[in-house]
């Protein structure tokens, strides 16, 4: 009996649909709660990218690229580094050393908080973009094995 494509792996599809939003939410939580709890940009970026990758392996690369185009990933890779380095340049423009956050706000505690939040967000963007781009690149190569061979 042949299944229609939409009916194959129904359990996996339903469970994935339930899992992907909490995974991405957890990624954002790790990103923006990194000052208070464990984690930071590196972990958050990877967790966020895992959500996209899970969606990609269950629903196919084309659907994943429709949700999160490759161009976004590329822009995030460069944008994260620019945001990080830009924070450093901004603190230089305020008259301090490169990446000295103390001048980013009036109160030192707030300034450090903003600086760390900005650079961690840059880290998260670059890491998520790189992981998604690598996943798309690897998964986009034409397979030589048919589904039955697995």
């Amino acid at each position: 009996m042949k299944y229609r494509l939409a009916e194959r792996h129904k359990l996996l599809r339903v469970i994935t649909k339930m899992l992907v939003p909490p995974i991405m939410l957890f990624g954002l939580y790790v990103q923006f709660h990194g000052d208070y709890g464990p984690g930071g940009g590196f972990q958050a970026g990877i967790i966020f990218a895992t959500g996209i990758a899970l969606y990609g392996i269950v629903f196919g690369l084309d659907k994943a690229k429709a949700v999160f185009p490759m161009g976004w990933a590329r822009n995030m890779i460069a944008g994260g580094v620019l945001l990080y380095a830009g924070t450093g340049v901004w603190s230089m423009l305020q008259g301090a050393q490169f990446l000295n956050y103390n001048v980013l706000a009036h109160e030192v505690a707030h300034a450090q908080h903003y600086g760390i939040l900005l650079v961690e967000f840059g880290v998260g963007m670059t890491v998520a973009g790189v992981i998604i781009a690598i996943f798309y690149s690897f998964a986009g190569r034409p397979p030589r094995m048919s589904d039955e061979d697995w």
Binding site: P38, L54, V81, T126, A133, S137, R141
Partner: protein
């Protein structure tokens, strides 16, 4: 109690590693590698390194398993059995392992407060974070503030790795098209 947990986890790691070496079915080997990363993540949790455990679970068990599967789709599903069974690799591995274990004898005891790594700049970071940075997670302050320049370097490394992968295999369809154009050009 903690010692038993660690012994069990380390034993599981060793067993899984042996299983990965023994198994000939590559799909099973990839899945076992993912299981290995999950167990390693639990080891990191028991060492109170929750952020490292996040990373290990997401990268080791998640993304790298996926990348292995992607590579597996390009090849066969069984490892070729090589009939030549030499003992030289085993001897090399045992010698290097013995050398590494011998090297650990000189290391300070695990968690020793007098170890050089604990007495250099770490006390300053721990004492100074509360006054000059005022966020509770010291790991984040060291990573993003005290050593922000190092972390910028790490991000650039990740950036470079991503650009390299995109350039090498990310544009496979484009190079394929160019290849076709070249061939048609030769015909004309």
């Amino acid at each position: 109690m903690e010692i038993y947990v660690n012994v069990v986890l380390m034993g599981m790691l060793a067993i899984i590693a042996l299983a990965i070496v023994r198994v000939r079915h590559l799909f099973a080997a990839v899945m076992l590698a993912g299981v290995y990363s999950l167990v390693a993540a639990i080891v990191f949790v028991s060492l109170d390194a929750v952020d490292v455990a996040f990373t290990e679970a997401a990268v080791g068990a998640g993304v790298s398993t996926l990348l292995f599967l992607g590579a597996l789709a390009l090849t066969t599903r069984r490892e070729k059995v090589t009939p030549n069974r030499s003992f030289v690799p085993l001897l090399v591995v045992l010698a290097i392992g013995a050398a590494l274990v011998y090297g650990t004898l000189d290391l300070p005891k695990f968690g020793d407060p007098q170890a050089p790594v604990q007495t250099h700049v770490a006390p300053f970071y721990i004492q100074d974070t509360r006054d000059s940075i005022q966020i509770p997670n010291i790991v984040t302050t060291v990573l993003a503030s005290y050593r922000g320049f190092d972390t910028l370097g790490e991000v650039v490394v990740v950036f470079t790795a991503g650009i390299g992968v995109i350039l090498l295999i990310g544009r496979a369809h484009l190079s394929q098209r160019r290849h076709d154009d070249d061939e048609s050009g030769e015909e004309a």
